[in-house]
Point group: C2
DNA sequence: GTTAAATTCAAACACTTGTTTAAGTCAATC
DNA sequence: GATTGACTTAAACAAGTGTTTGAATTTAAC
C-alpha cells in the first residue's frame, strides 16, 4: 500500500508474453520453490530466507515480485488450481462430446475429476498444500484467499449435474455427500502416502499412474453407485 | 537439558491420580487450547502468547509443563490418538466377541474403524490437526513425532486381518490400498467440511451423527466390496 | 506454624521473522 | 553513450518468536 517505486507486485509482467523460457525467470523460480517447501513443511514454518535460498534468489525478491509472503502463497495455490481445473474441464468436455449430448458414462465423469489430480500427485507436490491453504484461508488469511477457495468449489460444481444424471437413484443431498467422499479418497493420494507405505510394509507406492488411477476409480464408482438408504430406514 | 529446578516437563504429576477434576488443571487447559488453535489455524502460526492467553494461563506455563512448544504438539496429538485408538480397539473387540471367534460382519469392522473418528469430528476439532502433525513429523519435527505416527499405523494394522477375512476376494496389496482410501473418506469429515457446505449451498452439515456415520459406512463398504480387477486386465 | 516443594508470574533474553530501504546492476531505447 | 526503467542486492528495521530466569505465590506435609 505504501509502495513508492514501480514494483510489479502482482502484475503479469511488462509485456513479454513469457512464451518459452529463454532464462530462468525469478518469479517462477520462487513459485517452484514455494510450492515444494510449503507442501513438504508448511506455509508458516518456511521462512522467506530458507525459501529464497532454495530458489537461488535474493531475499527481497519475494516482496518485490509478489508483495508479501501471503500473496506468494495465494499465487502458488492459484497456479496449481488453474492448471488442475483446466485439465478437469477439458476431460469432462471431451467425455460429453463423445456422449453426443447425452450423459457420459459414470466412469468417464469420475476419471475427468480424479485423473488430473492423480497425475499431479505423480509429477509434483503441488496439491499437498491444499489443506494448508484451506487452514490459512479460513484463519488469518486475506479475503482474497477465501474467494479463491470458493472459486475452486465453483469448478467442482460443474460436475454435479453430469453426476446426478449418471446416478439417478441418489437424492441431490446424498450426491453432494458422495462427491465430497470422492474428493477425500483422492486427497489420500497426496496427504498420507507415507502411511500407506509403512502400513503395507513397502508394498504399495505411487508407481504406475494407470494402475493407481484404476484403483481409485473402481473404489469411488462402487461408493457412488452404492444403494441409497433413506436416513432412519 | 539444562533444567536446573525440578520441573516436571513430561511427567505424569506428583502422585495425585487426577481422577475427577477438582479444579481446572493448567496442563489440560493448555492441551485443550492447543488442540483447538492448532487445528483451526496451524501449529506454526499459533504463537505461545496467543495460545496461553486463550487458555488463561501464564506464558511460561507451556515450557514449564511440557518443556517446549514442539513437545506440546506431540502431547496434544498423543492424547487424541490414544483416546481414538482405544475406542476403535474396544469396538473391534466387541464385534469379534459377538462373532464368537469367527469373522465379524464387514459392516461392524468398518464401523469400529470409522465411527469413533466421526464421533470426535462432532465433539471436538481434535482430528483436524492430523495432517499438520504429519507434515511436522516428516519435516523438522523430532524423531519422537515420527515414532508416534508409526505407532498410529500399528493400531491400524490391527484391522488388516479381520478385513482380509471379510473380503476374501482381495489380494493383500489391494486391501491395503482400499483401507487407505477408507481413511481418506473419513479424513474428509474434518478437513474439508466447509467445502461440502458451500458446494451443497448449505444443505449438508455435520448434524446427525448416526446419519453421517451411515453415509460414510455405506460408501466405504461399497468401495471395499468392489470387484477386483487385476492390473492391466 | 514452619518447611519444602510445586507452581505461577512478570520481565528479560537471544534470535528469527517479514518487510523496507537505498544503492547497485543490467538491458534496452533514443 | 546517456537515460530510463526493471530488476537485484546487502543492509537495516521494527516486531514478534520460543525460551529462560529469579522472585513471588500457592500447595501440601509434618
Amino acid at each position: 500500500m505504501t509502495q513508492s517505486v514501480g514494483a510489479p507486485v502482482a502484475g503479469v509482467g511488462v509485456g513479454m508474453g513469457n512464451a518459452g523460457s529463454p532464462k530462468p525467470d525469478t518469479k517462477e523460480l520462487i513459485l517452484d520453490a514455494a510450492e515444494r517447501l510449503f507442501a513438504e513443511k508448511s506455509y508458516a514454518s518456511v521462512s522467506l530466507r530458507e525459501l529464497t535460498a532454495a530458489a537461488g534468489v535474493n531475499l527481497a525478491a519475494v516482496n518485490y515480485h509478489f508483495g508479501s509472503k501471503d500473496a506468494l502463497l495465494i499465487a502458488v495455490f492459484r497456479r496449481g488450481a488453474v492448471a488442475l481445473n483446466k485439465e478437469r474441464a477439458r476431460l469432462l468436455r471431451d467425455a460429453e462430446e463423445r456422449a453426443g449430448g447425452g450423459t457420459p458414462p459414470l466412469r468417464e465423469i469420475v476419471e475427468a475429476l480424479v485423473v488430473p489430480s492423480i497425475r499431479y500427485s505423480f509429477t509434483s507436490t503441488r496439491l499437498a498444500l491444499y489443506n494448508q491453504f484451506v487452514a490459512f484461508a479460513r484463519g488469518d488469511g486475506p479475503p482474497e484467499a477465501r474467494e479463491m477457495l470458493d472459486k475452486d468449489v465453483g469448478h467442482l460444481q460443474r460436475f454435479v449435474l453430469p453426476l446426478a444424471r449418471a446416478l439417478p437413484h441418489l437424492p441431490q443431498q446424498e450426491l453432494y455427500w458422495r462427491l465430497h467422499f470422492m474428493m477425500g479418497v483422492q486427497h489420500s493420494l497426496y496427504t498420507d502416502m507415507k502411511r500407506l507405505e509403512t502400513l503395507s510394509g513397502g508394498q504399495c507406492h505411487l508407481d504406475n499412474l494407470d494402475a493407481v488411477a484404476a484403483r481409485v476409480v473402481d473404489f469411488v464408482i462402487a461408493g457412488l453407485e452404492a444403494p441409497y438408504r433413506a436416513p432412519g430406514g
